[in-house]
Point group: C2
Chain length 332, copies 2
DNA sequence: TTGAAAGCGCTAACAT
DNA sequence: ATGTTAGCGCTTTCAA
């Protein structure tokens, strides 16, 4: 910028004015400055600008896996909101590891992102307290923060799961299994709670072997599904229906069921592409990942614009979409 | 940092040394500094650090749509490479708009990202020349740069499409349609070229109504597919097989075919989740989006480490995966 | 082993 | 309308 000023024969501040479109420059001066800018290939250094202004016009997003079909639209939605506010989005995947979430979030804070959207993996977010009080707006999405008060945008996992299981019960099922994510993950715990609530409301006992929580890698999910479907561990017999705890689990279970002779009912948490073209089409409890992301982004920027409201929890409803797999009657 | 130094009763540089793990500090001094850091909740301001060092330890990625199942794993792979090199990833979606691509790329350059990975949407990348000569390493992925020399990591679209069409021909098809992306997109043009090559090699004429390029929104794709399948525009009659130009197109066409009485053969460009569980399972020409991303990231960091090689074009092979839909015989 | 001073490139505040 | 000065928070350089 100094060079531009020298070349245009003007002061530093005049160049700054031109670059930033500030008023108070004669057209003629402006033209000279622009020429110098072009000639020198000058481009404003935003690092310096950021340092001076104290705002980075960037927000960070920490989620589990950018490539997960559930989180990709969420991320895209946050990006759209950021873009609408002139901010860039810095992304990081935590791989469901609390330590990595922490590292990423703190790295983003060190860069002085204006705000942070986090899909929490860890179980203690007190590490963010100093950052939040230092002014970094923070919104949690998909799962609430642990051990601190903060904004959160969630889906109603409990009600969703309860409705899904009630749906299976209404179609005659009595032995229903639940295969979910790691129990330390809030949504997994809530969905399990919903499952239990629906069973209890129908007066059905839950056999211990009907519930399997764990990592969502296909190997684990497949093993648990096969075990439940064989029913050897259970005095009560094999399950005739399954509730799956998220889109990763559902996809694996669909594969397991595809290899089976008998029809097993299935309700999956999360909608997924092509669910309606499978045989049978898959009944799901749909969330709206893009809406989660959008709401989180909006909440974040409202905070950034200085709304001093109390931390807020937004809970979005889920929607049961019957497509066929959830309406399969129990196998005799 | 100044405050920390004051509180610990040491010089500024000593704090800097401790924060950055540089040698030359007695354990006792270090302890005092660390105490002060904790007490004050100090966190290094990376903006200032970046300004001083001239390196941001961040790379930018501009792609079409972060939420597209093809690009999501690509993005994730670039992120992994960046992470391995201690860098953060800033993401932006161009929505297939050249102007937006340009804006995003220049915004990232203004932030002085160390490097840039771009899935080009525009058709002229000369705007990047000053940035590249200013030292911002740039790698194009999925499609080559236009009008500048630069590294590129691509899939072999031409060969992939040619093999796909040859496969359909080998299964008896003579009237084969191609539904692809906008013709200005390099991959779409290459795939069309592959389609034409395979037809020509088999001595088959291509009716004008058998080729439809355009945006990949479901409405357009559906209309074109239905038109080709009805065959009213064509003296040669309706097509008995289709090649689809990318995963978005394939998914829409699968829906169209699902509503049809007669069986139409289909080979889709790009693999996609659950392709093997559809009826019939979908034969695809698979790319490896994660590998594209990884290679691009690796190339980028090799450049950053100062390899002065000529711009390089890496072309990855595609793989035909027969699953059923591509082996359907022609309808009489 | 430690620290003082200079300066990265920009903008805010205050001249002129 | 334009320029000058100070300083954002850090690292680099060089001296103690």
């Amino acid at each position: 910028m100094k060079d531009v000023a020298a070349r245009a024969g003007v002061g530093l501040k005049t160049v700054s004015r031109v670059v930033n479109g500030e008023p108070g420059v004669t057209p003629d001066t402006e033209r000279r400055v622009r020429e110098a800018i072009t000639a020198l290939g000058f481009r404003r250094n935003d690092s310096a600008r950021i340092l001076r202004k104290g705002r980075t016009a960037s927000v960070g997003l920490v989620l589990e896996d950018l490539a997960d079909p559930f989180y990709a639209p969420l991320s895209r939605a946050v990006e759209e909101v950021a873009r609408a506010h002139g901010a860039l989005l810095i992304n990081g995947s935590s791989a469901e590891d609390g330590e990595r979430e922490r590292e990423l979030a703190l790295a983003l804070c060190a860069r002085r992102v204006d705000g942070l959207v986090i899909v929490p993996a860890g179980d203690d977010h007190r590490y963010l307290e100093p950052e939040i009080s230092a002014g970094i707006a923070t919104v949690f999405v998909d799962r609430p923060a642990a051990r601190i008060e903060a904004d959160a945008v969630l889906s109603d996992s409990f009600t969703g799961a309860r409705e899904g299981v009630a749906h299976l019960i209404a179609h005659g099922h009595r032995r229903i299994g639940f295969i979910g994510d790691l129990p330390r993950i809030h949504t997994a715990a809530e969905r399990l709670r919903g499952y239990r609530a629906a069973m209890a409301e129908a007066g059905l006992a839950v056999d211990g072997s009907w519930v399997a929580l764990g990592p969502t890698d296909p190997g684990r999910v497949r093993a648990d599904a096969e075990r439940m479907l064989a029913g050897r561990d259970s005095a009560a017999g094999p399950v005739t229906a399954l509730l799956t705890g998220n889109n990763r689990v559902t996809v694996t279970v669909v594969r397991v069921l595809a290899g089976l002779e008998r029809r097993v009912a299935l309700v999956g948490f999360d909608d997924f592409e092509l669910a309606d073209l499978l045989t049978p089409p898959v009944t799901v409890i749909a969330q709206e990942p893009a809406l989660l992301g959008r709401r989180a982004g909006e909440l974040l920027f409202r905070r950034l614009e200085g709304s001093g409201e109390e931390p807020r929890r937004v809970v979005l409803p889920t929607r049961l979409i019957p497509r066929g797999s959830g309406e399969v009657p129990p196998h005799p």
